[in-house]
């Protein structure tokens, strides 16, 4: 058909979570996890070699999406971007996440691509990765024999494409904290057409008390080897009245947080010149004075 074919590999299709965890335990690093496949199969078609692939396709009970106003949102490992877009609760309580899902890839990719797969791809461009980094949360890892470990989203991305996941671990669930009445969040992305990856993306989550920001989490993508938080910009907004002056200072402070490079989607120079503007607009969007 074309050069974009998949070379041979063994495919394992466990029928239960326990079976999947036993395979990971036995094979250690020798097996690659396949979820929606929208990253992995593309990489394999481009030459990434995997001798053994374990598909999560039969683990149907991992696709939950449950919101509880006291405990927050639980997103199963197999939950797709389409499920997020269709959820009125995600739309209402986690605007940043919903907005990142709505513009994500294409309708048919959203039907298979998973939120958790986006996090574990470890790409600095991941759109729901940006939203989750701003909202905060933990990724629940499971191991054979009932082992569970929670990785804070702030500790997940180690370097480009590398995460804190151990070989024998399967991510089973993503947990996001419950918002309160002062929580405001938003996501923005700069790209050519929706189906392209971002030139730059940004997500913000602020805890507001009137027009004063009690605390803030900002995340930006495509400006460092991993998705990053923006501590210098966060420090300016925290404890301050969110007005034009604060936002102008935060937009300037972003320059200290980022280290963009030139690549095929954009240049370092361009990213530097839009980073502050996009941060400002995301905060304005979150706080409703866009």
């Amino acid at each position: 058909m074309s050069s974009r074919v998949l070379t041979d590999f063994d495919l394992l299709l466990p029928g239960s979570l326990e079976e999947a965890l036993e395979i990971l335990d036995r094979e250690r690093g020798a097996v690659t996890v396949l979820s929606g496949g929208t990253d992995l199969l593309v990489m394999m078609k481009a030459g990434f070699e995997a001798d053994k692939v374990m598909s999560l396709a039969l683990l149907g009970d991992l696709n939950r999406l449950e919101f509880d106003s006291a405990t927050g949102l639980r997103i199963g490992a197999r939950t797709t971007l389409a499920q997020l877009v269709d959820s009125p609760e995600v739309r209402q309580h986690y605007p940043a996440l919903w907005q990142s899902a709505r513009i994500f890839a294409t309708p048919q990719l959203r039907n298979t691509a998973t939120v958790v797969g986006n996090l574990l791809r470890g790409s600095p461009a991941g759109d729901c990765s940006a939203a989750v980094a701003a909202l905060g949360g933990t990724l629940v890892m499971a191991t054979a024999g009932g082992g569970r470990r929670e990785i804070d989203i702030d500790d997940l991305w180690v370097s480009y494409g590398v995460t804190a996941r151990a070989d024998n671990e399967l991510a089973v669930e993503l947990r996001l904290p419950a918002p309160d009445s002062g929580t405001a969040s938003a996501f923005k992305r700069l790209t050519r057409v929706n189906e392209d990856l971002a030139k730059l993306n940004v997500a913000v989550c602020l805890q507001m008390d009137g027009d004063t920001c009690k605390s803030a989490r900002f995340a930006m993508g495509c400006v460092a080897p991993t998705m990053i938080r923006l501590p210098a910009a966060e420090a300016i907004v925290q404890g301050a009245k969110v007005d034009d002056e604060t936002l102008a200072r935060a937009a300037e402070a972003v320059q200290q947080d980022i280290s963009p490079i030139d690549d095929k989607r954009s240049t370092a120079e361009y990213r530097r010149s839009v980073a502050g503007v996009y941060l400002k607009r995301a905060v304005q969007q979150a706080c409703g004075f866009a």
């Binding site: 058909m1 063994d10 495919l11 199969l41 294409t106 309708p107 048919q108 990719l109 189906e195």
Partner: protein
């Protein structure tokens, strides 16, 4: 390489087949089942030519789906949309509105349009354009495709119930 025995229902017909682990649903449809109506464009999820429908009318890219993971699934391809010798309203609208030029994108476009209308029977022009994102047409400039989907939406509303 591992082989997998699967039962795949395509357009209402069961096929018991053995598929190799590295074969995509698209390859199995075209090469193993000799059903070339679903097209190969890019192979990497970008063009939408390979779109097929799942049972709930959601569309997926068959080029990024391993056939071995589809055991027991029911799918519909473009050629499975017609009822008897009557074309699906979306297919008829594509013909009536000249939304087909070279035709290569058409099976995927039609499948995506059916999927869109199943979720949103009366889409606005903007919603049609968003619903068809990820389906690339190099000929028509999209205007006639959008017109065809609008017409199909009206035709289907008229026949509903």
């Amino acid at each position: 390489m591992s082989k997998h025995m699967i039962t795949l229902n395509v357009n209402g017909e069961d096929h018991d087949i053995v598929v190799a682990s590295n074969k995509t649903l698209l390859e199995v449809l075209r090469e193993q089942l000799n059903m070339p109506d679903t097209k190969y464009g890019c192979g990497t999820g970008e063009c939408g030519a390979c779109s097929v429908l799942l049972e709930d009318n959601s569309a997926i890219n068959s080029c990024l789906t391993l056939a071995a993971t589809m055991d027991g699934k029911k799918i519909t391809t473009a050629s499975g949309l017609e009822k008897g010798d009557k074309l699906h309203p979306v297919q008829q609208a594509f013909i009536d509105h000249a939304a087909v030029q070279c035709g290569f994108c058409t099976p995927g476009m039609v499948v995506k349009s059916v999927s869109l209308l199943a979720k949103n029977p009366r889409p606005t022009e903007q919603e049609i354009r968003e619903g068809l994102e990820g389906s690339i047409c190099r000929c028509t400039g999209y205007v006639k495709i959008v017109n065809a989907v609008e017409a199909a939406s009206k035709a289907m509303a008229g026949t509903a119930g």
